[in-house]
């Protein structure tokens, strides 16, 4: 339905271009649509269709090829199963883990850490980004410090966080938040500053007050940047939580990685990685879905719907 509407909308301009060349000065859109309509619509619809089914076909094919190559590599070159288990072994391990309630406990722990860390980063990132974006002098004053903090590999802080906050979930939440904070803050800062001059002139010319200017101009201008930051940040917060679990504690998927490593259980190691990938994809889809819902008008959303 929606795609249909978009199609109709986009047909308009093309139709008009045709109409402008005509001599009549009334409603060239309608004329254009009559003369170019059906054919233009069909070819465009075909292009869109090809664009939309392509990944659904190509992805399984690529996956199958990878799995086949993997199986071949193991059987033909005789790689030790301790180093590279076969896909079948990994699949078995995944199913075994999914059937084990303890796994779900670990998944839930990691998910909680990621979610809380991400939300904390979002809250602090928004505030810091807006403040620094607005007060340029403050940003200039703090720039050296910000750059310094940013270039430090932040995972190096984990031992410190463990000392400060213990081996529980708190240190992991803080780690996830620390990693996710910077992309959000930087994007928000950029977003606050990148309100278009012409758009500002429109509001200024209309004598708009502060609150309407924020509601109708500044907020919607900044939202695409917020979501761009969030899409990066959600991936970062998974990294933060998992690396935190590597180094200390007794729960979470990162901890399962360490346990599997110590047991030299390669199939399980692969299985945990598979679960982490699924978790990451899920979270990314949540953020991306929120973006589609909140800023359906934005190019990144519209472009994704196109081939």
């Amino acid at each position: 339905m929606e795609r249909e509407a978009k199609l109709a909308g986009r047909r308009g301009p093309a139709g008009e271009a045709r109409g402008e060349r005509g001599t009549s000065d009334r409603a060239p859109e309608e004329q254009g649509r009559v003369s170019t309509g059906p054919r233009a619509r069909r070819s465009e619809a075909e292009t869109i269709e090809r664009g939309s089914w392509l990944p659904w076909v190509s992805t399984p094919i690529v996956l199958l090829l990878v799995l086949a190559g993997w199986t071949m590599a193991v059987s033909v070159f005789g790689v030790s199963k301790f180093i590279l288990p076969t896909p079948a072994d990994v699949g078995e391990a995944v199913l075994r883990m999914l059937a084990d309630p303890a796994t779900w406990g670990h998944v839930l722990i990691t998910l909680t850490e990621v979610a809380l860390g991400f939300l904390a980063a979002l809250a602090f990132g928004l505030v810091a980004g807006v403040v620094l974006g607005r007060a340029e002098w403050l940003e200039r004053a703090l720039r050296p410090v910000l750059v310094a903090v940013q270039v430090v590999p932040k995972v190096a802080f984990i031992p410190l966080f463990v000392i400060w906050f213990g081996f529980g979930v708190t240190s992991k939440i803080i780690m996830a938040a620390t990693l996710a904070f910077f992309p959000i803050m930087l994007n928000v800062m950029l977003g606050v500053r990148s309100v278009e001059r012409g758009h500002r002139d429109v509001m200024l010319g209309l004598g708009a007050r502060r609150w309407p200017t924020f509601r109708d101009l500044e907020l919607p201008s900044t939202l695409p940047y917020v979501f761009a930051g969030m899409e990066v940040a959600v991936v970062f917060s998974v990294i933060g939580a998992v690396v935190g679990e590597f180094l200390g504690g007794s729960e979470g998927l990162g901890y399962l990685v360490v346990v599997s490593l110590n047991a030299l259980d390669a199939p399980q190691l692969f299985a945990v990685i598979f679960l982490l990938a699924a978790l990451g994809c899920l979270l990314y889809l949540v953020v991306n879905g929120a973006k589609r819902f909140v800023i359906p008008w934005h190019e990144s959303v519209l472009a994704a719907d196109r081939p």
Partner: protein, 279 residues
């Protein structure tokens, strides 16, 4: 709408010669630069525009046309001199007189539509800022879409429209609250010649129907002469008024007017004046 401007004029400056809708008195504008010499953009500009008059500003790039228009709109302050709207000062106690602002509709070089609003919401934005309820905004937007030939595109997003259509939506937005003064800064500069001709006819029709006072900045002398009651030629560095040329053909005009001898004469004279500026 004309009723509104009439009362305002009576309240504003009684019995001043002609009771100009818009007046600039000895306006200078100097852009201060942090380094190097300051730029004198405008010097001693005095101009008055009658209610319902269509005045064009033409001149070379950098002659201060846009600056002049932005001063009229209150987007920037003049360094010295006065801006009078309906006889009363635009700048009052450090801010722009909100009543004067109500009377402006501004159209820029770019359509400057907000990509997050549909065409309908873009057009009705000024009404939203004035607290008009949603149903009335919808109705007004539909009316204006009809006026500028965008019916059926109310729910489209700006990116789905062509440049000409977007610019028409921008004009509809400027008209949404019945302004008595339209300030237009090269609104058709980015359009191709054919679209431009059509938009000129459309604009002329709208200005005649609404009776609005229009100040129109353009690069094109032909466009200026075709549309205007008077053409103001600015000369650059610093921007001064070089000449004011009346165009006597009755409005509304058809495109055929461009082939009349008197029309060509005016265009030639203006072009010669522009050439004498050198560069």
């Amino acid at each position: 709408m004309s009723g509104l401007s009439d009362t305002a004029r009576v309240a504003g400056a009684p019995a001043e010669a002609g009771a100009a809708e818009l007046e600039l008195r000895d306006v200078d504008k100097i852009y201060k630069r942090r380094r190097g010499a300051d730029t004198e953009a405008l010097r001693g500009i005095s101009l008055s525009v009658r209610a319902g008059e269509f005045v064009s500003l033409v001149g070379r790039s950098g002659c201060g046309k846009t600056t002049l228009l932005r001063i009229l709109a209150g987007l920037i302050t003049p360094t010295s001199g006065d801006v009078l709207i309906g006889g009363s000062d635009l700048w009052q106690n450090g801010g722009r007189d909100p009543e004067a602002l109500q009377r402006f509709g501004m159209v820029f070089q770019e359509a400057n539509l907000f990509p997050w609003f549909t065409i309908e919401d873009n057009i009705a934005l000024p009404l939203k800022l004035r607290g008009v309820d949603k149903r009335r905004r919808r109705a007004r937007a539909a009316e204006l879409c009809e006026l500028v030939g965008l019916s059926g595109f109310e729910k489209a997003y700006p990116r789905e429209l062509s440049g000409g259509m977007r610019q028409r939506a921008a004009i509809a937005r400027a008209l949404s609250y019945d302004p008595s003064i339209l300030l237009m800064d090269e609104p058709f500069g980015a359009l191709d010649a054919l679209t431009r001709d059509r938009m000129n006819l459309e604009l002329q029709r709208i200005s005649v129907v609404t009776g609005a006072t229009v100040v129109f900045v353009t690069h094109s002398i032909t466009e200026a002469v075709f549309l205007s009651d008077r053409v103001v030629l600015l000369s650059p560095r610093p921007g001064r008024i070089r000449s004011i040329t009346p165009v006597e053909f009755p409005r509304p005009r058809s495109l055929d007017v461009e082939t009349e001898p008197g029309f060509g004469e005016i265009v030639r004279t203006l072009r010669r004046q522009l050439d004498e500026e050198g560069d």
